[in-house]
């Protein structure tokens, strides 16, 4: 029911407008902050482990073995060119050298222990894809995806950490545009190779030469 000509009496104080504005924008801001925090946490190394060295039974240094000793990746990861799994060296492989070199080093005690007791070393997976992803090393290596493209400069890593997020959008960035990442086959295992010239030109040429398809069907990786 209408009041008199004076209209409705003012129920709220003028200052209430400010409170209302503040709460509307503040509320939106808080919602936004909430999502940003979720995004930030989700994107942080806490979840994707990027750059986080993982505890290992032996303080194995890729830097030392690859850079200082010049050992090829395939000396230990033997099946990287033929199988889905790159292969982890049996303790025997370590002992081929370390029965002589640093044979008494306390750092290598777990290795000697493993060899003596015939119990495997339990390495923590650094590159751990979800179980519903079926990744195959051999086909990537053979199509010109270099080790460093995904694993980074392993030869500069004293301890192993994850270089890339391993999120699906990261996988798809290459599966959608392989020409941006492909490397000549002869340099796949080369840690220090730097291309000269434009990646796009070389990539386009290699994609054609290696018959690389844009594989974005779900079944390519998920089964």
């Amino acid at each position: 029911m209408l009041e008199g000509a004076g209209g409705m009496p003012q129920l709220f104080h003028r200052g209430a407008n400010t409170i209302a504005r503040a709460s509307i924008y503040g509320g939106l801001g808080i919602i936004g902050l909430f999502f940003w925090v979720i995004y930030a946490v989700n994107d942080s190394p806490y979840f994707d482990f990027v750059g986080v060295p993982r505890p290992q039974p032996v303080q194995f240094s890729h830097k030392h073995h690859v850079q200082d000793d010049g050992i090829d990746c395939r000396y230990c990861h033997t099946t990287v060119e033929t199988q889905a799994f790159a292969g982890m060296p049996p303790t025997h492989t370590c002992m081929t050298c370390h029965s002589v070199l640093f044979a008494d080093s306390p750092a290598l005690a777990p290795v000697r222990q493993s060899y003596a007791d015939n119990t495997p070393l339990a390495w923590t997976r650094v590159y751990d894809l979800p179980d519903y992803v079926y990744f195959n090393h051999s086909i990537h290596v053979n199509k010109g995806v270099a080790c460093i493209t995904c694993h980074g400069r392993v030869d500069e890593m004293p301890l192993m950490w994850r270089q890339k997020t391993l999120r699906m959008n990261w996988c798809l960035s290459c599966h959608r545009s392989p020409e941006l990442f492909v490397t000549p086959r002869e340099h796949v295992f080369d840690m220090t190779w730097v291309r000269d010239g434009d990646q796009r030109d070389m990539g386009a040429r290699l994609v054609k030469e290696y018959d690389i398809k844009r594989l974005t069907d779900c079944y390519t990786c998920h089964r």
């Binding site: 806490y46 979840f47 482990f49 993982r54 099946t79 033929t82 199988q83 889905a84 799994f85 292969g87 982890m88 060296p89 049996p90 303790t91 025997h92 493993s114 060899y115 015939n118 119990t119 495997p120 070393l121 339990a122 390495w123 923590t124 997976r125 751990d128 979800p130 179980d131 519903y132 079926y134 195959n136 051999s138 086909i139 053979n142 199509k143 018959d211 398809k213 069907d217 779900c218 079944y219 390519t220 998920h222 089964r223």
Partner: protein
């Protein structure tokens, strides 16, 4: 409720029309909203999981030839009930995960069967976890050995006079040799054999016909006319997958019309052989012998007295079948069922010899079994000795005789009188409980042994894995009896073959035998035997008509004699014809059911000779009238105390092992909801199977594409721009002529794709998870309908109705034309399943996959994701095999060749009914099949363009029988 069939359908699945069920029973709208809200919140939270650390454990010393995650195949053999089947077992990182047939083995030729496939679960079965038991308390192997040695020392003094050994049928030469040595060491010891599904009648029939026991092998690849006298040789025979393969190689559409074989099946129950027959005659078991006599007389077997058949239909059959057999002299087979009376076996032998089949389609050899005996007599002798207190030490090597012995022998009571009884068995079953000692037995994938195939070919059984539950082999127990404690089976088996082979280079011989999976040159040579004058030796014919109901006992097509009862895969496998799961039922014909006033799902008391069991009725169309089929193997103490099943052994007596009369059935008034899948996934298609006769096909090769099957060609147009399938274009063809309904494909799919077992209640709710099902359709009168099998899985429509309705794009098309299912996207709306006209999608209503049993986790195929709750799944055309083949081909810079991608179902199929390949490869086998004029698209008029098509079935119809030909009415349109 009187049984009736849904008359609107010419191809019908069940006697009762499908009931419409309200799915959301008991939940109102508010409750639903609450639940959906809660699930939404829960699913949001479920996404927030930090990846737990995982470990890599490399070898210390990597074995030679071992490549991590590359599957290795080992040749071995499975001792199936009957004879062995050669296998190649796939092993990944030391775990056997898949079973395939060994192409070099005569029984499998690279294919397999449901039992071998499912035996994988038998290996990992958590129920097998057991210890050495002494009087049902946990004990140890060393203390068993001490007690055993002690008891044997006492026996050595008595020359073994109190020692008895009970085995199943022994088909292991090494074990046979050990037992021979045991009998040498203990000359007065006795060796008994008992298996509930034995070959006593085959043996007795052979003795009757030839005066000696010869083994008979049938070559169906050379047979033009086949008469089965109660034999389910395609499914429950001695070596079914080989027989099915040979049989199917001469079916309609696969050979020129004049070479197509014709199968006449005369049987009591409806078997899968009956379903594959061109003509089928339901006959009471007690009439079988007279029918056999009538055919034998007409075929010209001398001196056979045949009482005149009173039934005109039977008379006609005898005449026409005899005439047809005579017209195909030397290319015919008369095959009697294992369960038939010895006289039927003898008559069949006489007919085969009379028809000149001996030496061509019917081959005799020496017996394959190491020491063939009359097993019933053998068990009776043991029981008598036990009862007389003459048994000091009884050693039972395998089997569950307390459960399987005929009810009148009183074996269980007698067993208690043995001073010491030792049971070696895989499960702590009735016999284990009743014996003094129980020793857990190894699974065949854990042991060294050997076994003989149906033709005598020997295979070495090599282990794929160390015993998971610490079992011992029969060889080890037998060695202990010879005073060789803890002698490994490998040495025992090698020793035997070293002596037997006499090879100069034994190591080479041994390695070759292991590599090939067969020991070359061990097949038994054919033997010529002449039939004796049968007329003199045959017992007088049975009086024609005994009144009253008869009962027949048959091994169950999924759990056999009960040995597979612990196997969930087999329990959940629909039985080929009845499509029942998880239970056995009392099978009766529709006419008998209405006379008895019983109906499907109603529970009854079955009384025979003063013994009663309670079971559930299943009205089986086509079953012989006045006859009731009971199947063996259910209701064991360890598993199956619940449910509607019964223990048929409680009614089975030594007098009537396979059939008896004087049965009484009383209704109890109760019901039990048997889980039967026959109505599951019913299609809205009037003619799901397209059928014609060989004659039709000759005169009108296009019959499968005309009325009434196809009244409108597929529209062929679509709103979407046409997609050109470059690269690969996967497709499949399924030949209905070759399918024998054996379920090998279903089981192969289960183990390859980690398919979950859901249990009786869930199957009852239409929730079984099998990606591949074999639909069985009846056609014709319920008294004796024809039955047709149709394997069906996701047909991978090019225009798939499931795809546009998915709100989250969890199901979509790949560039190669596969209909992909992405589990991680699926939110469980089930719209896709609703929109699927083929009803091949399966939804995880509950968490069916067992995440907790460690041993089952070992069994899973690592290349296929196990699915969780709330996710839709379906056939992927074995995408893991496709991708593997594609990657291997790409590494060699070539295309995938035809035959490199073999789906699990295709690999298992004994008859090559399933063919998969690249439709873009003109020379691919699948294209040859698809170019056949029998090729048709199921529900093609919906414009789904299925990549899986079927080949229409051809029946080799014999007009002379005067049966109604297969004529399908054109569809009444409008109105």
């Amino acid at each position: 409720m009187p049984p009736m069939k849904d008359n609107r359908q010419e191809f019908w699945r069940a006697l009762e029309p499908v009931e419409e069920t309200a799915e959301f029973g008991g939940i109102d709208r508010r409750e639903f909203a609450r639940l959906i809200g809660a699930s939404l919140a829960a699913s949001g939270l479920a996404g927030c999981v930090r990846q737990p650390p995982e470990h890599i454990l490399p070898y210390v010393d990597q074995p030679e030839g071992m490549v991590q995650d590359k599957p290795l195949y080992f040749a071995t053999a499975v001792p199936l009930p009957g004879y062995a089947a050669g296998l190649l077992v796939k092993s990944v990182m030391g775990r056997p995960i898949k079973i395939e047939g060994n192409p070099r083995h005569p029984a499998t030729l690279g294919r397999s069967d449901a039992f071998s496939q499912a035996s994988l679960l038998g290996l990992y079965d958590p129920a097998r976890r057991g210890a050495v038991l002494y009087r049902n308390r946990i004990d140890s192997w060393p203390s068993f050995l001490a007690a055993f040695t002690n008891a044997l020392a006492t026996q050595a003094v008595k020359r073994g006079a109190g020692l008895h050994i009970l085995t199943e049928t022994v088909i292991s030469p090494a074990l046979g040799d050990q037992l021979r040595q045991v009998l040498e060491r203990f000359p007065e010891a006795r060796w008994h054999q008992w298996e509930p599904v034995n070959r006593d009648n085959i043996r007795a029939g052979s003795l009757l016909a030839f005066g000696s026991y010869v083994h008979t092998i049938y070559d169906f690849s050379k047979a033009a006319r086949i008469l089965s006298l109660g034999s389910d040789f395609l499914l429950c025979g001695a070596y079914p997958s080989r027989y099915a393969r040979d049989f199917a190689s001469r079916r309609g559409g696969r050979v020129p019309p004049d070479q197509v074989n014709r199968l006449y099946a005369v049987e009591t129950e409806y078997s899968s052989t009956g379903a594959c027959a061109d003509h089928r005659l339901p006959l009471r078991d007690r009439e079988m012998e007279n029918f056999a006599r009538a055919v034998a007389q007409r075929v010209g077997v001398p001196g056979i007295a045949a009482p005149e058949l009173s039934d005109p239909k039977q008379r006609k059959w005898a005449e026409v079948v005899a005439k047809d057999l005579l017209q195909h002299r030397g290319a015919s087979i008369v095959i009697p069922g294992r369960e038939q009376a010895p006289a039927v076996h003898a008559l069949a032998h006489a007919m085969n010899h009379q028809l000149g089949a001996a030496g061509t389609t019917v081959i005799h050899t020496d017996p394959v079994e190491i020491t063939p005996v009359d097993q019933l007599a053998s068990l009776r002798e043991l029981t008598d000795s036990l009862r007389a207190g003459r048994v000091d030490l009884l050693v039972i090597l395998g089997g569950n005789p307390v459960y399987t012995a005929p009810a009148d022998l009183g074996f269980a009571d007698a067993l208690a009188r043995a001073q010491i009884s030792v049971h070696l068995g895989q499960y702590a079953d009735e016999t284990a409980t009743a014996c003094t000692w129980h020793v857990p037995q190894t699974h065949y994938l854990e042991e060294w042994s050997d076994a003989l195939a149906f033709d005598g070919t020997a295979s070495i059984i090599q282990p794929l894995i160390d015993p998971l539950y610490g079992g011992k082999t029969a060889h080890e127990v037998a060695a202990a009896m010879l005073g060789m404690l803890d002698r490994p089976s490998r040495e025992i088996v090698r020793d035997y073959w070293r002596r037997r082979s006499a090879a100069a280079d034994f190591e080479r011989f041994w390695r070759e035998a292991l590599y090939l999976g067969v020991v070359s040159g061990t097949a038994l040579p054919p033997r010529t035997v002449a039939p004796v004058n049968l007329a003199e030796r045959l017992p007088p014919p049975r009086p024609p008509a005994e009144e009253g109901y008869e009962v027949i006992f048959r091994p169950d097509p999924t759990v056999w004699d009960g040995r597979f009862a612990s196997n969930g895969y087999l329990q959940e496998l629909p039985k080929p014809v009845s499509k029942l799961t998880w239970d056995n039922a009392v099978l009766v014909s529709p006419a008998t059911a209405s006379r008895l006033g019983v109906y499907s799902y109603g529970t009854v008391d079955v009384e025979l000779g003063g013994r009663t069991v309670r079971g559930t009725i299943w009205v089986q169309p086509g079953h012989a009238d006045d006859s009731i089929t009971l199947t063996l193997g259910y209701k064991q103490a360890a598993n199956g105390s619940e449910g509607g099943s019964y223990n048929a052994y409680q009614l089975r007596t030594s007098k009537d092992l396979w059939s008896a009369s004087g049965l009484r059935i009383t209704k109890t008034g109760g019901d039990f909801m048997l889980a039967c899948t026959q109505t599951h996934g019913a299609l809205t298609e009037r003619y799901p199977v397209r059928v014609g006769t060989v004659e039709d096909f000759r005169t009108n090769p296009d019959f499968a594409h005309q009325e009434p099957f196809e009244h409108a060609p597929p529209p062929g147009h679509t709103l979407y721009p046409p997609w050109k399938y470059e690269g690969y274009k996967w497709g499949m063809a399924v030949d209905l002529n070759a399918c024998v309904g054996c379920n090998a494909c279903v089981m192969a799919c289960n183990t390859e794709n980690n398919i979950a077992i859901v249990g009786r209640e869930q199957v009852y709710k239409y929730r079984e998870m099998h990606w591949l099902r074999v639909d069985r359709y009846y056609h014709g009168d319920a008294g004796n309908p024809r039955a047709f099998f149709q394997p069906l899985m996701c047909v991978h429509c090019e225009l798939a109705p499931c795809e546009p309705v998915c709100p989250v794009a969890a199901t979509l098309h790949t560039e190669e034309g596969l209909n992909a299912m992405v589990y991680n996207r699926c939110v469980g709306t089930r719209y896709c399943s609703n929109n699927c006209p083929y009803k091949v999608r399966r939804f995880n209503f509950l968490l069916y996959t067992d995440w907790h049993a460690d041993s089952l986790a070992l069994m899973r195929n690592p290349e296929v994701t196990p699915r969780s709750r709330g996710v839709m799944e379906k056939c992927t055309f074995c995408i893991q095999r496709i991708e593997r083949a594609k990657i291997e081909a790409k590494l060699e810079n070539r295309r995938v060749r035809d035959g490199e991608v073999v789906t699990a179902c295709q690999q298992a199929c004994p008859t090559d009914a399933i063919v998969f390949g690249d439709l873009n490869d003109p020379s691919a086998r699948v294209n040859r099949l698809k170019s056949s004029r029998l090729n048709y698209s199921l529900l093609g008029e919906l414009n789904t363009r299925p990549r899986l098509t079927h080949l229409a079935k051809l029946v080799n119809f014999n007009r002379e029988l005067g049966e109604e030909p297969i004529r399908l009415k054109p569809e009444e349109r409008g109105a």
